[in-house]
Symmetry: C2
């Protein structure tokens, strides 16, 4: 395996580092060495390791995305399509979002995340199980066709959610790769997943739009986790885990810059599972809402977590053809 | 006094509300009623009160700013002039900033604010006393002439500072009016002050540039403070005070929008003491540095605080012709 660094100095093979002493969580030692080691107790002496999987695995003839769009996705790790949904269809999705977020019977459930200081639902997971309308959208050929072109095979929904970030309230989140979390905590083996986010409100520079580092999807940045005395208690403090180091971020931004696709409600953002992204706080009165589906290729279904003691709850990580229903 | 609200409903005179029971801090009851009541225990039934002072009090013939620039300042409450300083002069100011921030003898002093997790200085106050170079800049006719045009009289430096916000580190700050704090905590009587900020690094959408609400300088938004059991302990938690209500912010942004002047190092931002501003976190590797002078008109020198028990330390609020030197 080629190990890339900014200085191109000669480095050990990354697999040399994957011993039990560098992992914060128990891993199955009968497995092959993990090509994407993360949640390490000590830093590797490389900023990142190269991605092994291809990015675009389908062809332009197979579906809605043209060659230039597929090239852009391949190069940047994301593609923004303004005006993907509009008119009555957009209004209908917004109404459905509002209705779901106001459902009293969803309050206090594990799959609904409420505001810190109120009982208002801020995020709702598993929406393609909770709503026929969002279920239909998740398997809409306009989305599934694009996903098939990118992943080169059939996919299922690994995770779905709707977000409603109220004005002045929505906090930002730090740079991260979703794949890093899904690999470490959900057991997603390889980079055969793509996210589709449809913005249901206008997105502008002041309401905390998603920022991405184009090209960052081609490397995997192992993250440091402490080696905690009491891992179970520590692991609840999620923000301490899965955060790439600043040196890696600095180097990737220096090479590729940052982009923040903005525009009117109804735009579709497709982004690779490993593209580094983050966002700033919402400084405006305008809410920022979206619906979000993660498509994982069927032959890449999750196994045991690669760097966590146990899997996360199923509302965060569905299995293929799972018959999920709310628990409790 | 005219009291403006979004609904234009008939309201009591704002001075009716300024009784001892609505103030969280002791005020001198022999004073006239405060036209800018703030840090209130209970909200007024008005979102804001009208500004009493003019904005631009000088004329175009008096100085460097032309009529269009003065009109823009009058209308928006700020004026951005790209390329105000450049070349060797800019390099020299950047070097001076670096030297001051690396001074060992400034560490641990009250006027130097260090990083939470290190001994690196992040902000340094009173720089026009600490540095001959910044003292010269503070009284440079290019700045003082502009200030005189805006304020319509001679001014002194009420506060000065340099900021160095490292990449990925700099946190944002919430919407606020500086005048609200200077009035409440430093005893600045009226809106006869203007801030001059010269950016010493490039300012872009990802390193947390200053955001302003144009037009917000024409109203004063009274802020709520809790009525704390133990005011002295509470008052140290500064972020709880001087934060305008969301309804007022929503209404002002709906009317006027938000602007974030961006551009290369060397730009000058002049902004009225009462213009609402804030910023987001620095999501980029690029630091964001600036030097900042607050000019207050000499006939507006501070008196006792209007909504605080005692004045803040002198490094935050100088008197005219003060001979400030570092203490301790």
């Amino acid at each position: 395996m080629t190990v890339k660094t900014s200085s191109n100095r000669k480095l050990k093979q990354v697999t040399d580092y994957v011993g039990a002493d560098t992992m914060t969580a128990q891993v199955d030692n009968t497995r092959d060495p993990d090509p994407y080691p993360t949640r390490l107790a000590k830093p590797l002496d490389t900023l990142w390791v190269a991605r092994r999987e291809g990015v675009v695995r389908g062809r332009a003839e197979q579906g809605p995305l043209g060659p230039a769009q597929l090239d852009e996705f391949e190069r940047k790790g994301f593609l923004f399509e303004p005006d993907f949904i509009n008119g009555e269809e957009l209004d209908e999705l917004c109404r459905e979002l509002s209705e779901l977020l106001s459902r009293d019977d969803f309050r206090g459930r594990d799959f609904s995340i409420t505001e810190p200081d109120s009982q208002e639902i801020r995020s709702l997971f598993a929406v393609h199980y909770l709503s026929e309308r969002f279920a239909a959208l998740a398997c809409d050929e306009r989305l599934v066709g694009r996903v098939r072109q990118i992943l080169g095979g059939d996919a299922y929904v690994h995770q779905s959610r709707i977000n409603y970030k109220p004005g002045f309230e929505g906090k930002g989140f730090s740079w991260h790769s979703d794949f890093e979390t899904w690999h470490a905590e959900d057991g997603m083996p390889a980079m055969h997943a793509v996210s589709a986010s449809i913005v249901l409100t206008d997105n502008h520079e002041f309401n905390g739009p998603l920022m991405l580092i184009p090209g960052s999807h081609k490397v995997f940045v192992p993250c440091l986790g402490e080696t905690p005395e009491n891992h179970h208690r520590q692991s609840l403090k999620r923000q301490e885990f899965g955060v790439p180091g600043r040196e890696a971020l600095r180097e990737l931004v220096a090479r590729h810059g940052i982009e923040a696709p903005k525009g009117a409600a109804g735009g579709l953002l497709l982004f690779d599972c490993n593209t580094l992204h983050g966002s700033n706080a919402n400084m405006s009165p305008d809410p920022r809402s979206n619906v979000f589906f993660v498509y994982n290729r069927r032959d890449n279904a999750c196994v045991e977590p690669f760097a966590a003691h146990r899997r996360r709850p199923s509302f965060l990580a569905h299995k293929p053809d799972e018959a999920w229903t709310p628990q409790g």
